[in-house]
Assembly symmetry: C2
Homo-oligomer: 304 residues x 2
């Protein structure tokens, strides 16, 4: 199976602490790096965890609060100093122009590459990026300002040929592509060999969903059903549920309820409020509802 | 003596590394914190080194390159989240408006305090801030874009009374203020008691100068003569002197020559190019010219 992993660069929230950096993650799909959110210090975290800047394919910014965006100027100018030449696509709400334009005008003449901004649709699900092996979709979350979640999914690969059986039945080479797609084989003497005897299943199409920042929003379940891994914000413990509601954030228990409703395989929580120096309570509250939960930590790599 | 110390928050240069953070320093003069430059991650460094954000008095930005400014949005919005109410003065080249306005407009309604921008004069020395105990001056450096150095100086305190001698000569209380200022005392029987027998020297007026970023520029010596501590950039080793000239930076030896010419007490060098994973060469080259040199390191506190 090809690589599909998520590296946590930061899993704190608005107020940075010595324990957690502002939000950012890298999704590595077969050696292409997709960044989600870019809080202050993200480029330093990339260096710390030895991720390769040259592999950065595109950026996905969930919403325009500072803790998710203040690392952009530094990252973009470093990429330019490193001599990047390929275009960089940034998927973000359209108001990002307003934040980036002064920087880009200021650095403009010295930028070594082009930046393309693709505006996110804050109201409905949309495909952002699709090629023959992967697809990235955005969908609306529920926050104080427009905020979107992201779904990274592989496409199903064709079935793998069982070479021994293909030889045994003398399947002609020209029929192999159809058999990879699932066709059965009719032998010259009229026997039908079922596809499952000639092939192994293709690689499973793994899926990763990112939901932050968001209030408890059951309507997002439809977009993330049965994903292999769900990252859902868990800013507060249950004792702060009123504060969570007021600020359009989620509690750890609410994150776990979304994971349970969506029938996901595994949940990872993050975006911890700076008030928690100890996050064991958040884990405990989530696990009570959805046992296969773990805590995000800077530097943690989650493989799908 | 009151506290007068410099904390190095970052002493790298344009390209952040795992060894050094982008430039920023705190000058603590009697519990007032003055920040010089604010590279990405500066607020995280303040937390790491347990410096108190509530004591931040004003900001001095030497020039507008990203490695000296990209930490501003995060710092300013954190100060606001912490509920700062006092105005914050920022001394910087006037184009900083262009970089900060989008942020301030964006966060505007939520900012808890006012920011006042005081434009630096890139062409001549100017007093930026003066009260009865301290004075801060800016002066031109030589860089690719306008860049200013800063001089932080205490004012001389009045001489200290030698209580025993004052009693011995029965000096009347009403004459004490004049004697603190240096006056001699005429006894009732006509003897002149020299001031130096009645007082001790006041506290020395300590001075700290910051010169970064700058090419080798002997014309700055006039502004920093005999300071107690000079921070001078030393981006390159002597082997890269051509590159230093081309990019308007200094070598470690050039920094030391400025220190020697200015007759400073002590030199600290920093702003190391990311090419040096080992900075012993820079120290060696500087010490050969000016022995009392030390290397800046994140977290180091230099007391004057």
């Amino acid at each position: 199976m090809t690589k599909f992993q998520v590296t946590i660069l930061g899993c704190g929230s608005a107020m940075p602490t010595t324990l957690h950096n502002p939000p950012s993650q890298l999704v590595d799909m077969n050696e292409k790096l997709f960044m989600i959110d870019c809080g202050e210090g993200t480029q330093l975290q990339m260096r710390k965890f030895k991720t390769r800047m040259s592999k950065l394919h595109s950026l996905f910014i969930s919403h325009l609060h500072g803790d998710h965006t203040f690392g952009l100027p530094g990252l973009l100018s470093t990429l330019s100093m490193l001599g990047r030449t390929g275009d960089l696509n940034i998927y973000a709400h359209k108001e990002i122009d307003f934040l980036l334009n002064p920087l880009l005008t200021y650095l403009g003449n010295h930028m070594s590459f082009n930046i393309n901004i693709f505006p996110l649709n804050p109201d409905r699900q949309e495909v952002l990026l699709e090629n023959r092996s992967i697809k990235v979709t955005s969908f609306p979350l529920r926050h104080r300002i427009p905020s979107n979640g992201f779904l990274f999914e592989e496409k199903e690969t064709p079935r793998h040929i069982n070479r021994e059986m293909i030889d045994f039945y003398h399947v002609p080479v020209k029929q192999i592509p159809d058999i990879k797609k699932g066709a059965d084989f009719l032998t010259p003497d009229g026997s039908l060999i079922l596809n499952r005897h000639l092939t192994y299943p293709g690689n499973p199409a793994r899926r990763y969903a990112y939901c932050s920042d968001t209030a408890y929003a059951p309507e997002i379940v439809q977009y993330i059903e049965k994903v292999d891994l769900l990252y859902h914000e868990a800013t507060f413990a249950e004792s702060e549920i009123a504060r969570a509601k007021e600020t359009y954030h989620s509690t750890a228990r609410q994150a776990a309820e979304i994971a349970r409703e969506a029938g996901v395989k595994k949940l990872v929580i993050g975006h911890y409020s700076s008030r928690y120096s100890e996050i064991g309570t958040l884990l405990k509250e989530a696990v009570a509802v959805f046992p296969d939960t773990e805590l995000a930590v800077e530097g943690k790599i989650l493989s799908l």
